[in-house]
């Protein structure tokens, strides 16, 4: 019974219990897992989204397909130049490829969701309208009529 009492009892400071730490971190982890979404594609164009004050939120993120338009990123400028390009999924495309892209997107959604599909045009603020007009005309031809001009909320 020398464990208890006795004069040789050292006053030991109990070490901090770190068992709750993992719980806290796991909670943080779950928070991030729920609130964020996976980045699907790597951006190959520089997109600085213009500001607008009357933006609305996207209702269904999963029914959204993105068309990125902008100048290629620095490391790709040697290959593709600085002219504004269209990026669909993971590669540079031309307006002719939009038809296939939309068809593929449509195919991947369920039947009753197809009518709610939205195409989000994420274009750099310095892009000229010519290329966007081409994209819009192509979208009209594919009858993907619901579009969204991406813009971020900026106070005015």
């Amino acid at each position: 019974m020398s464990k208890f009492g006795g004069s040789n009892n050292k006053k030991e400071v109990p070490s901090m219990t770190s068992s709750s730490l993992s719980d806290i971190v796991f909670m943080l982890l779950f928070f991030f897992m729920v609130t964020t979404q996976m980045r699907e594609t790597e951006n190959k164009v520089i997109v600085k989204i213009p500001e607008a004050s009357e933006v609305v939120k996207l209702e269904r993120k999963d029914l959204n397909s993105y068309i990125n338009i902008g100048t290629p990123i620095k490391s790709l400028q040697a290959m593709y130049g600085t002219e504004a390009r269209i990026q669909l999924n993971d590669s540079f495309k031309t307006t002719d490829d939009i038809r296939d892209f939309i068809a593929a997107e449509r195919e991947s959604k369920s039947e009753q969701d197809r009518q709610f599909m939205t195409t989000s045009i994420r274009a750099d603020q310095d892009v000229r309208m010519g290329i966007i007009t081409d994209v819009k005309q192509e979208l009209r031809r594919c009858s993907a009529l619901k579009i969204m001009y991406s813009a971020r909320k900026g106070g005015k």
Binding site: L29, M129, Y149
Partner: protein, 185 residues
């Protein structure tokens, strides 16, 4: 079991998710493109009463023309509001049609259409800025209407009431057929 490493593992996972995911929700201006026109139908549409259409044009230097006069972007909203409300019943501004709105009653709904036209050289930023002003004009009119009839702003109304307001103050923004003004960039 020694649990001190669980925290490290969880931290690693956390870092992984922080790197691979994106947070911010997608926002933007929602629009509906007109379907591709049929060849015969197009001509008839052009004959819509001239007073009901306001042409907003943006040229390649991002200057704005509303109706027939050049205008600054800061004045565009008021111009559009005046166009849509037509407070003096000016014969040059759009006519109103008394419509029976379900759940509200009769209300003179403006038949005004905003037609937006841009050049191929217009910058996207200017285009969005103009779109934004147009939406803002409509939103403010909707707010006015809601405040007058329900003494609340539009965003605080119930869905049903919002539907009524949307019918009373419709948002007709047509993105005209693009005009090719030379292929210069």
């Amino acid at each position: 079991m020694n649990t001190s490493s669980t925290a490290d593992i969880a931290f690693l996972l956390l870092c992984y998710f922080l790197m691979t995911t994106t947070m911010g929700s997608q926002t933007g201006l929602s629009r509906r493109l007109p379907p591709m026109p049929d060849k015969d139908q197009k001509v008839e549409d052009q004959k819509v009463n001239r007073r009901n259409i306001i042409q907003v044009k943006i040229n390649s230097a991002d200057r704005i023309l509303a109706g027939s006069e050049p205008i600054d972007i800061s004045q565009l909203k008021d111009k559009i509001k005046e166009f849509l409300t037509n407070p003096m019943n000016d014969p040059n501004l759009p006519e109103k049609e008394v419509q029976d709105i379900e759940g509200f009653g009769e209300y003179p709904v403006s038949k005004g259409i905003i037609s937006l036209q841009n050049d191929r050289g217009t910058s996207y930023q200017a285009y969005i800025a103009v779109q934004n002003e147009l939406v803002k004009a409509v939103n403010e009119l909707r707010d006015d209407f809601s405040r007058k009839n329900y003494s609340k702003v539009f965003s605080q109304l119930t869905e049903e009431q919002q539907g009524i307001v949307k019918k009373a103050v419709p948002q007709f923004i047509s993105e005209a057929e693009p005009k090719d003004v030379g292929r210069r960039r």
